[in-house]
Symmetry: C2
Amino acid sequence: MNEETSISSRRAQLSDVAEAAGVSLATVDRVLNGRAGVRASTVAQVHAAVQKLGYRADPAASRLARGKSRSVAVVLPAGTNSFVAMLVEQVSQLGAWLHELRLTARIDWVDVFSPDVLARHLASLRGQHEAVIVMGLDHPRVRAAIDDLCDAGMTVVTLVSDVPASRRAHYVGIDNVAAGRTAATLLGRFVGRNAAAGRIGVLMGSHGLRDHAERLFGFQQVMAGEHAHLTVLPALQGHDDPVRTEQLIRELLQQEPQLAGIYSIGAGNRGIAAALEASGRAQQIVWICHELTPHARRALLDGVADAVIYQDAGHEMRSAFRLAQARLNRETLLADQERIRIGVYVKENLP
Amino acid sequence: MNEETSISSRRAQLSDVAEAAGVSLATVDRVLNGRAGVRASTVAQVHAAVQKLGYRADPAASRLARGKSRSVAVVLPAGTNSFVAMLVEQVSQLGAWLHELRLTARIDWVDVFSPDVLARHLASLRGQHEAVIVMGLDHPRVRAAIDDLCDAGMTVVTLVSDVPASRRAHYVGIDNVAAGRTAATLLGRFVGRNAAAGRIGVLMGSHGLRDHAERLFGFQQVMAGEHAHLTVLPALQGHDDPVRTEQLIRELLQQEPQLAGIYSIGAGNRGIAAALEASGRAQQIVWICHELTPHARRALLDGVADAVIYQDAGHEMRSAFRLAQARLNRETLLADQERIRIGVYVKENLP
DNA sequence: TTGAAAGCGCTAACAT
DNA sequence: ATGTTAGCGCTTTCAA
C-alpha cells in the first residue's frame, strides 16, 4: 500500500501568470510586490491570474534574485536576565542561516521596565530597518510607538510578551494564561492532597508585565478551581532581579513555616534557589519556575526546583525571523512550525 | 547598546573556490558533489581552497539550479495506529514545502511487527529512491536490509524507533529511555506518598519494539530508585491494538482492586480509556500514556488520562526530510532545530 | 580529466 | 504605465 505526494500539473510560475494576464514579467512582479505604477485594471487581471493558477513564488529563486538583505532590529530588555541571554545567544548562532534568508539582524538592549525609554527607542528605529522584533511592555505609549512603525510600513513582531492591541504583524511566544494554568496543575498535583492547609507563595517580576500578569491569572484560576484546599498568597514583585527575589523568598520562608509550594512567574531564579537552599527546606517545598536558564537547570537537577515551564528560545528566534521574512517577501510558511509550545521539564527529560 | 550580525568579508562563493584552486566551476562542482573523473591532486587542491575560504554553498542557488527533485520513501507501520496516522497527515501537508526543498515523498505501509516483511520491503526500495525514512523494528534482518541500502548509496533515516547498530545516517525521535524516566517521575509524583502500597500496571506493544523496551527500562529505573513504595507489575503486551489493550486493562482492573496507576508505553489508548471508564475508577487511577492522538486528547480533557508524553509528529517529519535533504545535497543545518523534544501535556497546556 | 556555457525562476535596473 | 533584459550562484549538459 502506498501513496505519493501529488506531482500533478507542474507548479505555475511567474511566466505562466504573465501570459495568463497578458502582461510582462515585470508587471506581475510589480503587482505581487505591491509597487506603484500599475493601472488598477491591470492589477485586477494579474490577481485573477495568480488566483486561477494558484501561483506561489519559488522561494529559492526569489532569494537568489534578491540582491540585498533586509534589516531586522531585535529589541530586548537590558539587564542580567538569563533567558534574554539565551535569546541573544540564539541570534548569534543564526548568522549563516539569516544570511541565507537574506536577513541581517541587529540587537538593541533597552530598559524594558520603562515604557518611555522603550517607546523612544522604537521611534528611533523608524525607517532604519524593514522589521523589528520586540520583547516589550504592553503600555499605551509602547503600543503607539509600535503602531507608528507599522504605519511607516515596517513589520513588527512581538516576542515572549505580546502587545495585542497594537497593529504588530505577529506575536511569537506561548499562551501565558495556559502556562500559568499548567504551573498550577503541576504544583497542585505535586503538593498533593495531604498538604491539608498548605500555603503557596507566588513571585512575579511586576504586575505591569503582560506575560507575568497573564500567567498569574491562569495560575489563580486553576488553583481556586481545582486545588481549593491550598491557599495562594498575594503575589510578590521581585522585578526579575536575583538580589530582590532572594530577599523576598527569605522573608516569605520566615513568615510561612508551613509553606508548601512556590510558583515563580518571572526571572530571578538564582535568588530563589539560594534562599530555598539556605533555608534547608528546599526538598519539602515544591517550586515551579519558568525558563531553562543555567540556574533553573541546576535547581532541577538538585531537586530544589520540581518542574520548569519553558519556551524554546531558539525556536522563538527562528520563528520571529521566519515570520518577518515571510511577510517582507510575501512567502508562505507552515503555521504548524511557528506555534511555540508550552514546554514542561522535570529532571528526567532535560535536554 | 547594540550588536550586529557580522557582515564581515563577503561570503565565499563557488567562483572564489574555483579561482583559489585554479580550476573551473565545473571541476569544483564535481569535487564537491563527489562525482568521479577528477585527478586526486585536483581534488586535494579544491578541498584545500574550500577549507581556506570556509565555503558553503548558497542553498537558494543550488535548489534553483537543481532540476529534478530527489525521491524519498517513507516506510510506516500498517494498521490503525493513530500516531502513524498523524505522521501521514503531516506528510500530506508538506507538499509545497517538499517541492521547494526539491523532494518528492512516497509513503509505504508495511507490517512492522514482522521483520521479514519489513526487510523484504526495504530491499525492494533499493535503487528506487535516493533516501528512505523508516519507522521500524530493530531486528538483525532489518538492520541488514538498512545496511544494504546504505551500501547502495542511499540515505536512510530511522524515525521514532531507532536501529542504532545499522549504518543509518540519522535517527529522528526522542530519547525513549528518558521518556520512560519522565513518565515514572510524573506517575510517582501524581500518585503521591499516601498511596502506601500502591500497585502500578504497565502496558506495552511488545518487548520486541526498541522504543517500547527503552521506555520500559527508563520507567523501571526511576520507579525502583525514587518511588520504591510503589510496586510495578509485570508489563502486559497489547500489540498496539485497542481491542487487546481494552481486554488486558479490564482483566488488570479486576485482578488489582488497589491499582494506583497505569503507564501505557505504546498505542491502543482508545481501548485503555474504554476499560478505565467502564470500571468507574478512571478518576482514582493515575494514567500516563504516549502521543497526543485524538483519543488521548479526549482522555486528558476528561480527566481519565493525567499526562501525555509526546513527540511532535510534524516536527519529526520535517526533521527527517530536512536531514535527508541536507545529506543528499551536503547542506548544513541547525542541529538545534532537529532535536526532538520529549514533550509533556497535561490538560492545561494542550494545543 | 577538464572547461565553457546554458539555464533554473525570480528581481530590479533601465528602457520605452 | 509597461516591457526588456541582465544578473543572482549554483548545476549540468556538451565539448574539448
